[in-house]
């Protein structure tokens, strides 16, 4: 036998995954870090290590502004999505009879491409879009509303819709796991339905809520398709700036630096959030 020990068998089995992660995640990350210490001089790359990219990025008010706005928009998307997803997940887990059908319905948006869904929102919110025409036809407004599209609101709305299933599913799973006799016990001990929700259901679904928040927050901070299409100039986010560095501006080192700064900021916010949410959960008695 070649695979004599448990360990060698384990390594062999995990080798494909390790290679995949190594080549497609770890290696690009190392390259990215390397780039962030180099300098672009027009067409050539100066490979002398320097922190200039970092000092430039921190000094630039635009970077700070876009970074904060990205976190703010992603935070808003997360709050809106989770707040809307919770009641849906609650309904499916606790009240619905045909859970499978409901879960299937929730995944329906995935059957069309993400880009198409963003364009759909453009059609709905646009100046001559569905929303404005409908409101005008009903005589509620005289001229089209221009605050629907090309701003933060449009970005939050589009992203919240796109990410809803990702919030519903983890919350659904954590609700599904609650033993019904725990809820009866809370009632038996004198809790009203609202008290019972606050003291048993909510704390027991905190892991699901945290998962949902992270699943939505982390990717949306770095999203650039949605802000590019429906964000206008008000809705631009850090990823749009990064994209420009790797494209039109042709400044890969700065792009790499911005990426790393974004990554670390997101990581920091996520860690603070997880710790806070867990602590709040522990306080509920």
């Amino acid at each position: 036998m070649i695979f004599r020990s448990e360990a060698s068998r384990g390594y062999t089995l995990s080798a494909p995954a390790t290679a995949y992660v190594g080549f497609l995640v770890a290696a690009p990350l190392v390259i990215l870090i390397a780039y962030s210490f180099w300098t672009q001089t027009y067409v050539t790359l100066d490979k002398t290590p320097t922190l200039k990219n970092y000092s430039d990025a921190f000094a630039d008010p635009l970077v700070r502004h876009l970074m904060l706005r990205s976190i703010w928009i992603a935070g808003a998307v997360t709050v809106v999505t989770v707040a809307l997803a919770y009641p849906i997940a609650y309904f499916i887990a606790m009240k619905a009879r045909k859970k499978t059908i409901w879960l299937l319905l929730i995944t329906i948006p995935f059957w069309s491409s993400y880009l198409l869904r963003v364009f759909a929102w453009k059609l709905i919110l646009g100046f001559n879009g569905v929303m404005n025409s409908a409101l005008m036809m009903l005589g509620l407004i005289d001229e089209p509303l221009d605050f629907l599209l090309y701003n933060e609101f449009a970005v939050v709305l589009t992203l919240a819709h796109a990410w809803a299933p990702f919030a519903i599913l983890p919350i659904y799973v954590s609700l599904q796991k609650i033993d019904p006799s725990l809820l009866e016990a809370a009632t038996d001990l004198g809790n009203s339905p609202l008290q019972r929700f606050m003291r048993v259901t909510l704390p027991l679904t905190i892991p699901g809520i945290i998962a949902a928040c992270l699943i939505i927050f982390i990717p949306t901070v770095g999203d650039y398709v949605t802000p590019a299409l429906v964000g206008g100039s008000d809705g631009k986010m850090i990823a749009n700036l990064i994209q420009v560095q790797f494209g039109a501006a042709n400044n890969w080192p700065l792009g790499a630096t911005l990426s790393l700064i974004a990554m670390l900021s997101v990581g920091f916010v996520a860690i603070v959030f997880v710790i806070t949410a867990t602590q709040i959960g522990r306080r509920i008695r």
């Binding site: 809370a186 038996d188 004198g190």
Partner: protein
Amino acid sequence: MTVNNIIELRGVEKRYGTFLAASGINLDLKEGEFFSLLGPSGCGKTTVLRMIAGFQEPTKGTVLIDGQDMEGVPANNRPTNMVFQSYAIFPHLNVGNNVAYGLRGKAPKAEIEQRVAEALEMVELGGLQDRGASELSGGQRQRVALARALIMRPKVLLLDEPLSALDKKLREQMQFEMRNLQQSLGITFVMVTHDQYEAMTMSDRIGVMFNGRLKQVDTPTTLYARPCDQQVASFIGEMNILPSKLLGETGNMLSIDAAAFGRIEIERNPNVATSSKDMNIGIRPEQLEIAAEKPEDYPSTVQGTVSNVAFYGENIHYHIQVAGAEKPISVSVPNYFHTVDFKRGDAVWLGLQGASVIDLGTDIE
């Protein structure tokens, strides 16, 4: 001194669609008694308990607790507390917070702390307030569930198969502990169980349920000695049931032809509804005499062959095949260190006294 009825069920019925989970339940529970609802699974005993707790509303009939009609009163406003079959210990709270759950916001902090300490002391978990819910053994979970319910000082404590999740040794120990606890607190306990031994060792009275109906409510000794019909007789303990013929009655005595055992005089069972010509009698296995020689002083004797022997330690069970009886007769003999020791195939005599025969009447099915 008259004891108040703490719970009264009046014609209670519960229907799920076309399925009748419980019907015609009339029951008075006295203050301070330990009452058990006993029956096979699916007989409706848990439904009755849940209707008292308020988790289910009866389709028909009235539930009164301490004289008050409970219709429309939700479970959280009833003066009852429950120990769940799964114990339902809140996994996100430690032992202290689990026990304090029902008191939060209803009593000052210091008082809650003191009552939690007392309640834990009472169930012999003193000082374990900070223990996490996941670190508890099955027996400890059961004790936490008890403390959490009792700290509310309910008028009635409801227990849904409270011991079924424990292993045999622990179960027997908890039976005595719970009985002692109930007697020292003087609170009415209503327990649902499918375990006849559990019901018999713990309860003041037992209600036996079959197919949604309450068949008999009596003390354990009466249930054992005077069951109301065949079904109850064979559910409570072991019972040899023999089809017999009623030959005549004089006052309280019945004269019957007990098949293989011949003619015998037995006492009328007041709990039996009807006795017509074709009737059943029951004989408890420990009431039969077994001997190698024909026993004297027994009005009825019969000869048979040992077809099976089972050794239980404190008892030996024999199955005796008797001419004229369809099924072998079960005989249980205390194990007095091998004073009786029959083997399979041995010829033996069985002796029977009229006083140990139970009149089971005629089944009206």
